[in-house]
Amino acid sequence: MTLDVDISKTLEAAGRRFTLRARFQSDSQRVVIYGESGAGKSMLLKALAGLVTPDQGRIELGGRCLYAQEQGINLPPQQRELAYLFQDYALFPHLNVRQNIAFGLQRGWFNPASRIEHATVRHWLAALELELVAGQMPHQLSGGQRQRVALARALAASPRALLLDEPFAALDPGLRQRMRIELDKLQRQQGIPMLLITHDKDDVEAFGDHLLRMEQGVLVDTALELKGVVHEK
């Protein structure tokens, strides 16, 4: 799936000014954006998901226009059909594992019932080995289980792509490598394109088929860099 991004956004707060400038194209199934914290990675990811509106530019995913400032197109997050894995997973604390996974499957004004039976939920509970904790609340889960629930919730909605914000930062170092292997397997099985932002070199190694670097709000495409092309200002 082709991702085509060219956006910029300026934030001003307390006399400080931060400008995000990102321009890249990728056909890769696994894109990693690497950079220090505060470099603007999260803002870029949120702009892709529609949670932050850029000042100008456009975003296209698989030939579908998600955002185009000139044409006045700005799909709300609900219509972008993307999955977003938050750094601390953002599981709904008032809903059990089953309800969390079913959350996006049930539209309307009410949350899924605590004993909801749904084929997709059953599938993901099994696929991520969550059957034993299906009735538990998020605060009762271990870090690895929480991440699995977040993945199941994200993938249950059959998204077009998976956006991951520092997916392993909240885990113990020992667990990180195991969850990397799990995500690696899951991504290959599902064949779902993913874009991961991280400040961890190990993530780059594991998932960085196409690596981009973010430095103080500016995105540098390492693939172009190698060919001696400097990203234009």
Partner: protein
Amino acid sequence: MPPTWLAEPAWIALRLSLKVALWATLIDLVLGIAFGYLLARKRFAGRELLDALLTLPMVMPPTVLGYYLLVLIGRHGPLGAWLQQVLGIQLIFTWQAAVIAAAVVAFPLVLKGARAAFEAVDTQLEQAAYVLGLSPFAVFLRVTLPLAWRGVLGGTLLAFARSMGEFGATLMVAGSIPGKTQTLSIAVYEAVQAGQDDTANLLVLITSLVCVTVLVSANKLTPNRSVQA
């Protein structure tokens, strides 16, 4: 004096007080959720000014509030005259006027509780729900409100207790008509003025019991009580 003779007006006053407080609380709950959410989540010019204006009833003397209400909904007031002419409704000196007075006085308690409760909800959870495809209203009903509910309810119970005890503004706009607008707190005042100590004692006892019950319930609902301890 037989106690049954005393019990009847006290019973009527209690029922009236409960009716007025329930309606006032219901109105405050709806408006408190709406304005609390607005103040907690939306950025607009004059946000803090609006908060201050809506909190004003907490610090202003109830008689001053009552006077404002009288000017507004009285027979010659802009709203009062309109209601009279268009709908044929006269609010002043009715139990509905007591509801309005109690609702205005108690409103800041719901608002403060609701705003704090909504602000405490992690916006990332709302964002996660948007990305999962839910409309903003569904996100409010399924994520924001359930997570803020305890704080909202705590403020609401306080507002109920405050409404039960409302005196000054109520007397100004609803008067003291026994069986019609004479609530518990006003009946206490009238009983003491008339030297009916037995009646006053009974009324005071009932009022205290109701208020203590409500406060204990409100404390139980205060969020994160165990965490802070």
